[in-house]
């Protein structure tokens, strides 16, 4: 360990493999169900009876295809939530957690600037979420091959990318709130509340006509509306990248002016 980036990765040496194998296992198990699901002739009829909004939220229309099946079962709710729990917890722990433990002082009373510290933490967080995404991508490819889901490499990449972008957006938000307040509880709580609001908008936008126009503002919509397992990279991914970058830029000067360790 020579710097904060390496240290932040080292901190996850047990945690990250556990999460990565967890998500991979979830994807593989779900893929293993596909052969028996695809044989159910009545599935399509059953799905046609469901409300259109429900079909839209969970991408049930394409349930008859392998990628549609994984989208509905995993990529529109279960996997995003796993990524968000991981990202928000890690992000909150990185600065606010260190500060509450009293160890942040030691990293800062060195020539290391507050800017570099936060950027290195953000980079380590992003990389660990990418690693989680890579596990999902790998499991999707392996499971797809083994159980004949017929998912293209491009679709698997886009699907995993959607999860990574969603995780990075809220994870960086947790990191930034932690850096601005020094409180880990708030750094977990505030992004979690935003996730709930964003998901509510995503679902309500499908159910209520009046909200349909606003649906595009929800990060869930930006990440998931195209599948997310689809061979095309949706333009809305750009909207997922922008907020965390902005949050970092706004936070950097503010966090460098803050008293460290007073929130304990």
């Amino acid at each position: 360990m020579r710097n904060v980036f390496q240290k932040a990765l080292w901190d996850q040496r047990r945690n990250l493999p556990f999460w990565a194998s967890g998500v991979a296992l979830v994807v593989l198990l779900e893929a293993a169900l596909w052969p028996s699901m695809s044989d159910m002739a009545s599935l399509d009829d059953y799905l046609q009876d469901l409300p259109p909004a429900l079909r839209e939220v969970f991408s049930l229309d394409q349930m008859a295809t392998g990628s549609g099946f994984l989208n509905a079962e995993l990529f529109t709710l279960v996997l995003p939530m796993i990524f968000l729990v991981f990202a928000i917890n890690r992000g909150a722990r990185m600065v606010a957690g260190e500060e509450e433990a009293g160890t942040l002082d030691l990293l800062l009373v060195t020539p290391l600037s507050t800017t570099r510290l936060l950027v290195q933490e953000a980079a380590a967080l992003t990389l660990s979420i990418i690693a989680l995404g890579a596990a999902v991508f790998g499991a999707t490819m392996v499971g797809g091959r083994l159980f004949g889901l017929g998912i293209s490499v491009a679709a698997a990449v886009v699907g995993a990318t959607a999860l990574v972008l969603l995780g990075v957006e809220f994870g960086i938000l947790a990191l930034v709130i932690g850096a601005l307040t020094g409180r880990r509880g708030l750094a977990i709580g505030a992004p979690t509340a935003l996730v709930m609001a964003a998901y509510l908008l995503f679902v309500a936008g499908a159910l209520v006509d009046g909200l349909a126009a606003w649906r595009g503002f929800s990060p869930f919509d930006q990440a998931l509306h195209s599948g997310p397992l689809s061979p095309q990279v949706p333009a809305s991914f750009a909207w997922l990248v922008l907020p965390p970058l902005l949050a970092l830029l706004v936070a950097l000067p503010l966090w460098s002016r803050r008293d460290i360790g007073t929130a304990r």
Partner: protein, 321 residues
């Protein structure tokens, strides 16, 4: 050597909400000395240290370390400081060696031989995880990280807590060594005895105000002595009581027991004409003098005399609200 003060603060003030933790502090620590920063718990020692280390931003005033302003030149100042926080813990899941390597790397590299030598000296196992170390052994890791890359200024917040007497002595020896190499040390403590052995100067802080800074000579000169005077005939009690610096006069037969602060010249001038048969002085512990400061603080006449002039305005009566 450069005469720029190692530490200089000008009107340094820090508020936390309505609570004023440090009050218009003007502190100057010359380079190459050991400065004992003393005060009771909650006096503002740790707040001052965090202001110097760039972890807090002052509400008013400024702090300079070797002429560099802490707030505007923060990273450079932080690069010049070896810092030991009062609540040092480190990372429970890292070994001492991993932790020191990380901190050393952040400071731009550290001589591994120096680290090993310090670890041997303090008898601490660098292969053990910090979480498994006793409080005292963890504190040693904290001391090593502060000293290992030989920073020009060491800022140590209650460094000897948890150390056994043998290790305290080793620590004090180390402090003397780094002073001999020209490094400056600021050592905070709430017990005088800890810093008495090494400090060249002390500053006494109470309720966020610097009561005084003294050299050790001045402190010793200000120490209160108890003296027994036996006279030829009767004790000139009234005259003795009027003498400057004299307190607690008790008369037994032809002997007066009293205490004197500072010089005994006045006392002897008053007493001599009455014929002194025997004079016994007991040098009281320095700690007693120091305790006077704590108990009576600014109000006490001894403290005023020691401080050699006004330090700050009297406390404002709190506003009702």
């Amino acid at each position: 050597m450069d005469k720029t003060p190692a530490i200089a603060t000008h009107g340094l003030t820090k508020d936390f909400g309505k609570r004023r933790a440090v009050h218009v502090l003007d502190l100057v620590v010359p380079p190459g000395i050991v400065f004992g920063y003393l005060g009771p718990n909650g006096a503002g020692k740790t707040t001052t240290i965090k202001l110097l280390a760039g972890l807090y931003r002052p509400t008013a005033g400024q702090a300079l370390v070797f002429g560099h302003e802490v707030t505007s030149d923060r990273d450079r100042v932080q690069g010049m400081i070896g810092y030991l926080p009062g609540d040092f813990t480190g990372y429970a899941d890292q070994t001492g060696g991993q932790f020191l390597h990380l901190i050393g790397s952040l400071r731009g590299g550290v001589n591994p031989a120096r680290v090993l030598q310090l670890a041997e000296r303090f008898e601490v196992d660098l292969g053990r995880r910090l979480g498994t170390l006793s409080h005292g052994n963890r504190q040693k890791i904290g001391i090593i990280q502060a000293f290992m890359n030989q920073p020009p200024l060491l800022v140590l917040d209650e460094p000897t807590q948890g150390l056994d007497p043998l290790m305290q002595r080793e620590f004090l020896a180390l402090v003397r060594e780094v002073r001999a190499q020209g490094q400056t040390v600021l050592l905070s403590s709430h017990v005088l005895a800890e810093v008495e052995a090494v400090a060249d100067q002390i500053g006494i802080l109470k309720d966020g105000r610097l009561l005084t800074t003294l050299t050790m000579e001045e402190l010793h000169a200000g120490a209160r002595r108890s003296i027994d005077l036996t006279f030829e005939r009767s004790v000139p009690e009234a005259d003795l009581r009027r003498t400057t610096g004299v307190k607690d006069v008790q008369v037994h037969d032809r002997t007066a027991h009293l205490s004197v602060t500072g010089s005994t010249a006045d006392l002897l001038r008053v007493a001599a004409p009455h014929g002194i048969v025997r004079l016994v002085t007991h040098e009281t512990d320095l700690a007693d003098t120091f305790l006077d400061f704590y108990e009576n603080g600014w109000e006490d006449s001894d403290a005023q005399r020691l401080s050699e002039g006004a330090v700050g305005p009297t406390p404002q009566p709190s506003v009702l609200g």
